[in-house]
């Protein structure tokens, strides 16, 4: 096969515009980590099962390992680096710290972004709704109880 065409992409990540040149077989995960050096987004399984690569696209959690970067022009991408403002943790990040919802931390970016999307859609979720929302994010350390508590602590707060 002849050499792949490379695309000049304009990606909006964390409200900033980035120009990236990439072939079409680059995933959003690869572009975020390797081109934009936003390494908060993690690669776990690489096949959509674990949720550690979760980012928000137009506010919805998606798997960046299964997303082609070339298809992301015109979409609003949010990574974990986009949550803290002015050096202050976002309230969801602070709640994770407060409730000891982080151990090794590998799942935390995906968990926090998933919780962020849930709370935007439903500011007052019950435990079952929280568990359902994070059901696609695997955590091998915490047993989920503290993560659920951290998200629950924010229910009804309106941010």
């Amino acid at each position: 096969m002849k050499e792949m065409k490379r695309y000049s992409l304009t990606l909006t990540v964390n409200n900033e515009t980035h120009e990236v040149v990439a072939p079409p077989n680059r995933t959003l995960l690869e572009v975020l980590r390797e081109d934009l050096h936003l390494t908060g987004t993690k690669e776990g399984c690489g096949e959509g099962a674990c949720g550690s690569c979760t980012v928000l696209v137009d506010g919805q959690p998606v798997r960046s390992c299964l997303t082609l970067a070339v298809a992301m022009e015109g979409r609003k991408i949010t990574t974990i680096e986009g949550l803290a403002q002015g050096g202050r943790l976002h309230p969801i990040q602070a709640a994770f710290v407060e409730h000891h919802a982080i151990q090794c931390g590998f799942c935390s970016p995906g968990m926090i972004l998933t919780a962020y999307a849930l709370l935007n859609e439903n500011p007052n979720p019950g435990e079952a709704e929280i568990r359902r929302a994070i059901s696609g994010n695997v955590c091998r350390c915490t047993g989920y109880a503290k993560i659920v508590k951290a998200v629950q602590s924010l229910a009804g707060e309106g941010r």
Partner: protein
């Protein structure tokens, strides 16, 4: 895992997409949500020259209610189906199937068209290139042996889509378009029943929409599935049921479809005649579930043993029938 090289196509209209399909045929792989295709690309199970992203085709969006039917665009996400109050209310089996597809982030990405057209799976096929290099080349990979059924003369890979059984229970149809023509066929006719080539779709055809007929009598529906992790797995046994009652309170129609039981969903044909005219009693539902058991194919090629999955088809068929009976409501 890195993706293999390919050229990228992004049509902005359906005619443009159809003309690309016409030009590239077997060399092109269609992608929408990507949850299925990107993994198949990563595993090198497919090596297309072109990947055509149809996600920007606005004509393939929307859930629209018509007088006699509901039309769902092929690009409608599984999440939209799950969240549709119309589908939750009137087509419960379809909404329940969508609710059980993978996990929420994958339902955000995946489309109904992609879910229907997902390829069959097998533990001896859905593996990385490195693992497959150490295995005999099976039917699915163009060889002449089956690694799941020793001496098997055909491919026993399993269709594990959730949406198709529920849609088939409602006798839904799909619209296939190609340059200059379109055809509407029952979703069941989209399946060949062959593991190697599971779909009858031609290589220049695009699935553009799903048509679900309305019911005109009291009816109920449900979808149930077995999976290891309640949070996200493919079905290991599944069943969709649609039951309709006549004015006399007896069954006027019954349709039971099982999934993850062979290379295509299976309509348990005998159920309709067996239930007709009967009162909606448990013994009849159990008898119908027994018919599903007889039809199911239990092969040791998924994460649970084949004979266990076959037994569970009966259990989940009965649960789906019970769920359909509970869901009973007036016709639309």
């Amino acid at each position: 895992m890195k993706l293999p090289p390919f050229e990228y196509l992004e049509p902005s209209t359906v005619p443009e997409a159809l003309s690309m399909l016409d030009a590239y045929r077997d060399k092109v792989q269609i992608i929408a949500g990507g949850t299925e295709v990107v993994n198949r690309l990563k595993l090198r199970l497919i090596r297309p020259d072109y990947v055509m992203n149809i996600k920007k085709l606005r004509d393939l969006e929307g859930i629209v209610e018509h007088e006699q039917s509901i039309i769902i665009g092929a690009n409608v996400s599984v999440k939209e189906i799950r969240d549709s109050s119309l589908l939750q209310d009137k087509y419960k089996a379809i909404a329940e199937a969508a609710f059980q597809v993978a996990a929420p982030p994958l339902a955000n990405m995946g489309t109904i068209g992609g879910n229907i057209l997902q390829n069959t799976r097998c533990l001896f096929y859905n593996q990385s290139e490195i693992v497959l290099k150490g295995l005999d080349v099976c039917h699915k990979r163009g060889g002449a042996s089956c690694l799941a059924v020793k001496g098997g003369k055909r491919c026993f890979s399993v269709y594990q889509g959730d949406m198709a059984p529920a849609l088939i229970a409602f006798d839904a149809q799909c619209v296939l378009e190609k340059s200059g023509s379109r055809r509407t066929i029952p979703i069941m006719a989209l399946f060949t029943g062959q593991g190697v080539q599971p779909f009858s779709q031609e290589n220049n055809e695009l699935l553009t929409g799903i048509i679900i007929p309305k019911q005109n009598r009291a009816y109920g529906s449900a979808y149930r599935k077995l999976r290891v992790r309640g949070s996200m797995d493919y079905p290991l046994a599944s069943a969709a049921a649609l039951l309709a009652l006549g004015a006399d309170g007896r069954f006027a129609a019954g349709r039971l479809v099982i999934g993850a039981s062979g290379p295509a969903p299976k309509v348990v044909d005998r159920v309709s005649a067996a239930l007709l005219g009967k009162l909606p009693e448990e013994a009849d539902l159990k008898a119908a579930a027994d018919m599903a058991y007889e039809l199911s194919e239990g092969v040791d090629n998924l994460v649970l043993p084949g004979d266990y999955r076959k037994k569970m088809v009966r259990v989940f068929a009965q649960r789906a029938l019970q769920g359909a009976r509970t869901d009973m409501k007036r016709g639309m």
